[in-house]
Amino acid sequence: MKKKVLSAILSLTMVVTALAGCGNSGTGTAPAGDQSAPEAADQTANITDDAAKPAAELTGIDAIIAEAETMTLEELAAKAIEESNGKTFYGVGNSSRGKSALPLFIEYLQSIDSSYNMEFEWQQPKNNKIFEQLTSDSLKSEGTFAMTLIQDGNQIQSKMVDTDILKTFIPKEWAEANNTSADAYEGFLPLQTLNKVFMYNSTGNATYTNCWDFVYDGAHPLFMGVDSEIVGKNFLMMLTEDKYATWLKEAYDKLDDTKKAYFEPTIKSMQSDANDLGLGANGAYALAWIKLWVNSYNEQTDDGPICNTLVDASAKDQAGLLVYSKLRSVEESATVSVNNIKVAAYEDGYTGIGGYGYCHYLFLTKNSPLPWTSCAFIAFMTCTEQGFEAWGKDMGGYSSNPKVAEEIEATFHHSQGGGDEFPAKNDRGYDWWTTDGELVLEDPVYCSEVSFSVGSWIDVLDHYAPGE
């Protein structure tokens, strides 16, 4: 009987719910220059109705942002001191280093007004929870989170910007440094671009001289799963964009006949899918590469373990696609060495894509409790060396502000970080990576558009399991 009572209650609950339910320096500078260029005009990332209104008609957070975009960092700092002295600032982000940048920001404000003080809490949610956290926070009249530092342009576009949950603020000095203005600039505000690059263990005999080698017979590169880190899936989707599909075609053309013969049937078989998905002329090359990659990559939980594996002498011939900056922390030992790996794109004669780049973007929340302080903090991070130092001290992260990037390089000399001893750690910088290094760059709008066409196509591909 008791079981029946329990079952009845649960069933009733489900039925009720169901019914209710029917209803330029050495390291260069990150993407700003690109996105402010005319070609980036397609990226209508944060163009909302509000953004299109004249400044005089704006209200609330939009009016504050419009005003803040005309102010210098010093002026914003004065507003921040007035607004947040004695209060607590809540930030949320994919990067834990926001926590390191905040004390420096407070120090900066204290250098203007020594009596200033602000408590802060920086949260770093896991497993994509940042989007749900920001969504639920946006439902309140006044949110908890003042701002966010967030990655994954695809989800930002569809879940945060299209829904008007996050607001872009373009600092005046940042716009000037990028030869643009807040009004002219279209797109999200990037703090930095990070790169994931192809590397391989060079203690054996295997060579990777072309990006197609990473999907050649028997290769099983280490990679974070496309489901566990969505920026990885964005990379694959980006490959189908004309520019990158062409890069893949060009790399294919330079393969020897044996390898061409190996890949050709797959490329041919992708042609109809490429047509169905509305891809450009070289779309089949992109789909073939993606298919072979998903069929062959060896999924790992994070880039950390991938790096640990690759630098070990025992990982002979193994390859991987991982965050470049992971190399910074490898300690030399009897079996572990940075010299056990090679960065594919740095090798003479290497052809094709060298990796992919994605951004950490900065936004205010639409119901930010401390909007002026958020604007000042964002300006501080994007316009001063001190503000970017938490990220800039390590290789593989490129400030979107060319001026800051120059200062960072002058201070930390990342381009010679490994010297002659560890050439793999000599970071060639953003400009090199995005040209010679053929870094595939994430475009939020494109990713968002193909998320359920190319994205769903990727979802049905078979994944490799070791031992198969």
Partner: protein, 608 residues
């Protein structure tokens, strides 16, 4: 003729009400019946609702073309799309196989050990009994990480070589390294102490006369085992299945680390773009919980009663396994438990001194200079110290903040869950044939049978809305922890309360002793050990719980999410140090409670 005075119905009713409320057990059952109904049903309602909701930027928006509202498209897509096999059926099959295998391994291993400890003259029982429960103390996925470090190899798993491959050039097959077998082994070892405690409890109290009678009748030993002994421990086996099946089903980290796709891992991976469909997976896991409870109820009805405690035989005949045998078997188990309990701890300690995560090069070279104390003593994170931007363990604010947060959470959860569970156990035992009491008992137990990841998901959805947003607060973690862990205390309390004769309390009632005094002076002292277990188990489980809290807070908020973060990042020195901190904390509390009250997890079986 004198008129017969009509009884005053309202007075009778008032009296009845007064009498009803004068019994504390009635108030307890009414109060907790309502509260637990809400705390169990509300999250289910929230997650069911989520399966119909349109989530911007996800598949349901794409399929419906709407950005808000409700739809059944998530159900249609999950069950009928070309991804159904990948997203639903394969994970479901893997989950069921994993849960069944875990039950089998834990029952065989734990049951055999319980038999040897309680029914044979095996040596080293006290040591073995203490050490056997270690895998349960440790977070379950830490054994999975140890498994990776031991058995992985470049040749088979395409990673760097693990210890056995690097030192002995032994390469284990893939099925041994990744997938369902290692996942079931790790979870089986983790939950074997359940089987040991439950089955051992019955073995210890079993009337030996039954087996002796069979022996006198010249029954073969195998027949005695299958016809007499096993049927008597059947209730304990069923209880173990009840406890282990749902737990294994809801385990996220073990299959995640050992590369097995289950409903739990699929829930996490689908949550970003298939949010509503992921919620359906959580519902499916919950349905399994309800089914297990239903099966348990059926088995209780049909189960033959085997009395284990008759009072006639106080002697427990122990099987003699031979002069040498008792040492040999003991030593074999010392070796086994060394690898399941001691070796992982040694590896954790060693890991914190390696130059790079998993870099055991000092073993191959014999050069101890390759070891380092940097992971412990580095006191800043500005300079590049080969520590991925982290300060050393002793100076790492994230770790210590998480540690004290976890301690606070575990203590509060244990106190609330332990107290509520004890009161429910008491009240149910007093009204054991009452339907409402049985309902309260079942509804209190139901959350335990629901997979943790699903319960966590349900609480996240319930408390993340425009009116209330408790994400990343201790309040939310405490609510989820209490609801999930009440069963530990309620079952422990109910079993012990049923053993207390009503006469004891009735005598005190006649003496006009208040209820609180009766509890404090009679009931609790008599069943002190079981009641304390009802507090200890939630405390211990809460300390290293991940699946339940994974979706409810950020990494760095509590120790288990911090540990998981470091494990995922491959920073094994930090995760190993956290493991050591957890193990030491649990052992200190267990010893402290043991010294103060005489209760411990394995007490009464082989421990003390």
């Amino acid at each position: 003729m004198e008129a017969i005075a009509k009884p005053d119905k309202s007075a009778i009713f008032k009296n009845k009400v007064k009498t009803w409320f004068s019994q504390p057990q009635n108030i307890i059952l009414l109060l907790f019946g309502i509260v637990l109904t809400f705390s169990t049903v509300a999250p289910i309602v929230a997650i069911v609702k989520d399966t119909f909701k349109i989530h911007p930027g996800t598949i349901d928006q794409h399929l419906t073309g709407k950005v808000s509202g409700y739809t059944i498209v998530n159900y249609i897509d999950l069950f009928t799309s070309r991804l159904a096999r990948t997203n639903l059926w394969m994970p479901l099959l893997n989950t069921v196989i994993l849960s069944v295998l875990t039950c089998m391994i834990s029952i065989l291993f734990g049951g055999l050990f319980a038999f040897l400890v309680t029914r044979t003259d095996m040596k080293f029982k006290k040591y073995l009994s203490s050490i056997f429960i270690f895998p349960y103390i440790m977070p379950q996925w830490t054994l999975a990480v140890v498994w990776q470090h031991m058995f992985y190899s470049n040749k088979i798993t395409g990673t760097s070589d693990g210890l056995l491959a690097a030192i002995f050039h032994v390469y284990f097959p893939h099925w041994w390294c990744q997938g369902v077998f290692p996942s079931a082994m790790v979870l089986g070892l983790h939950y074997a102490p359940f089987a040991y405690i439950l089955i051992g409890g019955i073995f210890k109290n079993m009337d030996a006369n039954l087996e002796e009678a069979a022996t006198i009748l010249d029954t073969p030993k195998w027949k005695i085992m299958f016809k007499v002994t096993l049927p008597m421990i059947k209730p304990a086996i069923l209880s173990t299945i009840l406890l282990v099946f749902g737990s294994a089903m809801g385990s996220y980290p073990v299959p995640h680390y050992l590369n097995l796709t289950t409903l739990s891992t699929k829930y996490i991976s689908m949550n970003s773009t298939y949010t509503g469909e992921a919620s359906i997976l959580a519902i499916i896991m919950m349905v399994f919980g309800v089914l297990i409870l239903g099966m348990n109820q059926m088995s209780l009805k049909s189960r033959k009663n085997y009395t284990t405690v008759t009072g006639k035989s106080g002697q427990l005949t122990k099987l003699t396994i031979g002069k040498m045998g008792k040492y040999v078997v003991g030593i074999i188990f010392i070796l086994i438990t060394f690898f399941t309990s001691i070796w992982p701890i040694m590896l954790f300690a060693l890991e914190t001194f390696l130059p790079n995560p998993g870099d055991y090069s000092f073993l191959y070279t014999g050069n101890l200079a390759h070891l380092t104390t940097k992971w412990w003593v580095t006191n800043e994170n500005v300079t590049e110290n080969g520590m991925y931007g982290q300060a050393g363990i002793l100076y790492n604010n994230t770790i210590w903040h998480a540690f004290f947060g976890t301690l606070f959470l575990a203590v509060v959860c244990a106190l609330i869950a332990g107290t509520i569970g004890t009161l429910i156990g008491y009240a149910v035992s007093k009204k054991r044939r009452n339907k409402w009491a049985n309902y309260v008992n079942n509804v209190a137990f139901l959350p335990y049978l629901m997979p943790s990841i699903a319960v966590g998901a349900a609480f996240f959805i319930l408390f993340s809305n425009e009116r209330i947003n408790l994400f990343n607060t201790y309040t939310l973690l405490i609510i989820a922890g209490v609801v999930k862990y009440i069963p530990f205390a309620s079952r422990s309390s109910l079993n012990s309360m049923l053993q207390i004769s009503n006469e004891l309390e009735e005598a005190a009632i006649i003496m006009n002793t208040s209820w609180i005094k009766r509890m404090l002076k009679i009931i609790i002292p008599i069943q002190k050990s079981s009641i304390i277990s009802g507090y200890l188990l939630p405390f211990m489980t809460c300390l290293r719980e991940l699946s339940l809290f994974l979706l409810l807070c950020t990494q760095g908020f509590i120790l288990s999410t911090t540990l998981d973060y470091f494990d995922e990042m491959g920073l094994y020195a930090f995760s190993s140090a956290i493991n050591l901190i957890l193990i030491v904390t649990i052992l200190v509390f267990n010893t402290l409670v043991n010294k103060l009250t005489g209760a411990s997890l394995d007490s009464g079986i082989g421990g003390k």
